[in-house]
């Protein structure tokens, strides 16, 4: 759309002079023809717009390929061996690629128990400490130097690589409980180190958005600070804190490397968190992957499957994804259900 009228010397409003040498308080005269977009430039802009649009859609499409492939292969290959026998047995009595007496090929019962106990241990350590630390930072510390220091250290902690967290738990237990100690609780300690900064940060964010009016209203009624915090502030922030904690759990539940060096790996079920090695699902996936092939002697029965470790790995991976997915969904639902009712 080009303007039909040819008024190209738009003089500034209220001042009509067009002298070439203008005084300091006079507006310049603008030849708007100079700024008129050329036809080719308009076309070039359109082309660029289209080009970027195509590029962005293309980026999306290309990224979809591997991501869909990850989900799809896990789903397709995981379902092959995922049955009740797989979920209800551990890896004892599994010899090569031969079927076990129960008719299955071993399973992940011990790994599921290990994962749940170790993660629960990490929760018990990190959630109370993390929430209270955030309460201290927001409700009590104000802008002190201690608060600054804690903030910095929480940031530092959130950058700790998971393998370093594993090394820490390992060295701690080596010094306190003797060298070479491996147990489930050691894994919990490593995971809680990874969870703690997430819990502190999300709780802090949630406490920050609790309106100050609420605190003042409660304090003005003569309620003590502790009751104000527990009954009013934390209650208001609860949905956010819970969903933040669940998302933090979903993140650490898939950790492999730190558990490899702290909780160890066994084939049988160990329900005691504080003694003996424990297997977790991610470690199980890795161990099965490392086996690569099972041994099937020449005289083995037809039921002997050489590729069984890989199939078990995929099935365990599928179970892991399902657990993470469920935790994510629960986190979201909890946030919605617990949210203070709006009219």
């Amino acid at each position: 759309m080009n303007s039909p009228s040819q008024q190209n010397t738009g003089t500034p409003v209220g001042r009509g002079s067009a002298a070439p040498a203008r005084a300091a308080d006079e507006a310049p005269v603008i030849d708007f023809d100079k700024f008129k977009p050329t036809r080719s430039h308009v076309a070039a802009r359109k082309r660029k717009d289209l080009f970027m649009r195509v590029l962005i859609v293309l980026a999306f499409a290309i990224a979809c390929i591997p991501l869909v492939s990850v989900l799809w292969t896990t789903l397709a290959r995981g379902f092959r061996r995922l049955n009740w026998d797989f979920l209800s047995h551990n890896m004892t009595n599994v010899i090569g690629g031969n079927p076990t007496p129960s008719g299955g090929y071993g399973g992940i019962l011990h790994a599921v128990i290990g994962t749940l106990e170790i993660t629960l241990g990490a929760m018990v350590i990190s959630i109370p400490v993390g929430v209270l630390c955030a309460v201290y930072l927001i409700e009590y510390a104000g802008k002190s130097r201690l608060a600054d220091a804690i903030h910095l250290l929480v940031d530092v902690m959130s950058g700790i690589p998971s393998i370093v967290a594993g090394l820490f738990a390992f060295s701690m237990f080596a010094l306190l409980a003797g060298p070479g100690t491996l147990n489930g609780f050691e894994g919990s300690v490593a995971l809680s180190l990874l969870m703690l900064p997430t819990v502190v940060k999300t709780t802090e964010e949630m406490l920050k958005i609790v309106p100050n009016d609420l605190r003042e209203a409660s304090l003005a009624l003569g309620v003590t600070k502790q009751r104000t915090i527990t009954k009013v502030v934390l209650r208001t922030a609860l949905p956010g804190i819970v969903s933040g904690a669940i998302l933090a759990i979903a993140r650490v539940i898939g950790e492999t490397a730190p558990l490899l060096m702290t909780a160890g790996y066994i084939v049988s079920t160990n329900a005691n968190l504080f003694s003996g090695q424990m297997t977790t699902l991610p470690v199980y996936v890795y161990q099965e992957y490392s086996k690569y092939r099972a041994n099937c002697p020449a005289d083995a029965s037809d039921g002997c499957v050489t590729s069984i470790p890989m199939e078990r790995a995929w099935s365990a991976a599928l179970v892991l994804i399902i657990i993470v997915l469920i935790l994510n969904v629960i986190g979201r639902v909890v946030a919605r259900v617990l949210a203070p009712k709006k009219k």
Partner: protein
């Protein structure tokens, strides 16, 4: 009328206790981090204070005699870690921005909601699964592509052939790590882009900007610091990633940039996980020493991200 001002208030004790507990938890964070440092340093101490001959011997056993000194041992590992993570970030960065823009500004609303959920789910998938996928799906199928790259772009040292088969190479690992950090960066970038004030977008469009020009004028400047800190987070994740590297890469201990050849580099994290099971006490000390180096790298990256975001927020 008698005043109640001086009567004891119920709950006063609980108030004090609660305050004390909260304070203790704050202090505990300091203690925990100090403990991390102390325990790691104590375990790594034999490296410095122990018998240097033994240390040399241990390192020689790790490297097959190629290195006897801690720094010459950690050097190639450091190089490999940074190389892999940087490559992953380079691959993931532009694609992430593209997807984030697609979700926030191009896709229809319903599709965008669905995609957001999928991206969040993908960000939560454990790395061991990416490693499994990389090792069993990507490695067997990507050789023709790398081979093609080596043949056409082989004159660039980065891509010099022959491409390894199976391609358990830095290039493949970097690709898997890029896919892994893609959802993380995308999800943060998307959140920022969606927060762009409508007012600014309309200001740009009202001036006659095309959609892309609007994004350049309003969305990208608004989201810049957020995008940078998101990529730093992704970089930190890639630097510390253990399993995907361990499960895919054929390790080597060189300062090599031949991405398509096998047995060139190794990362610190994967090296710890690989050597750890067979290491003796002194060996563990050496590995913890390398772990401290990794910690310092990720710490610096996080510090940089923090600086960038706080600088940007001060400006506003």
């Amino acid at each position: 009328m008698s005043s109640t001002l001086h009567e004891p208030v119920s709950g006063k004790k609980a108030d004090g206790v609660f305050r004390g507990v909260a304070y203790a938890c704050g202090i505990l964070i300091l203690v925990v981090l100090a403990a991390v440092a102390v325990f790691l340093l104590v375990q790594a101490w034999p490296l410095i204070g122990g018998n240097q001959a033994d240390v040399s011997e241990t390192i020689a056993s790790f490297t097959g005699g190629r290195s006897t000194n801690f720094w010459s041992y950690v050097g190639p590992l450091f190089f490999g870690t940074v190389l892999v993570a940087a490559l992953a970030l380079v691959i993931a960065f532009f694609v992430s921005i593209g997807i984030a823009l697609f979700i926030s500004h191009y896709a229809p609303k319903k599709l965008a909601t669905v995609l957001s959920g999928v991206v969040d789910l993908l960000a939560a998938i454990p790395s061991v699964i990416y490693g499994l996928w990389g090792g069993l799906v990507l490695v067997p199928s990507i050789y023709p592509f790398w081979n093609w790259v080596a043949e056409t772009l082989g004159w660039i040292p980065l891509f010099s052939g022959p491409a390894a088969n199976p391609p358990r190479t830095v290039a493949t690992v970097a690709l898997v790590l890029a896919i892994m950090i893609l959802p993380i960066i995308t999800s943060m970038a998307r959140d920022i882009f969606q927060q762009t004030p409508k007012l600014l977008e309309e200001a740009a469009l009202g001036l006659g900007a095309t959609k892309w020009e609007m994004i350049k004028l309003a969305v990208l400047p608004f989201g810049r610091s957020g995008v940078i800190s998101a990529s730093m987070l992704g970089l930190g994740r890639a630097l510390g990633e253990t399993m995907a590297v361990l499960m895919i890469l054929a390790p080597g201990m060189r300062y090599s940039i031949h991405l398509l050849q096998a047995s060139q580099n190794q990362t610190i994290a994967a090296n710890i996980a690989a050597q750890y099971p067979e290491a003796n006490a002194l060996g563990v000390s050496v590995l913890i020493g390398t772990g401290l180096v990794l910690f310092v790298i990720t710490f610096l990256v996080n510090l940089a991200a923090r600086r960038i975001t706080s600088k940007a927020s001060v400006k506003k």
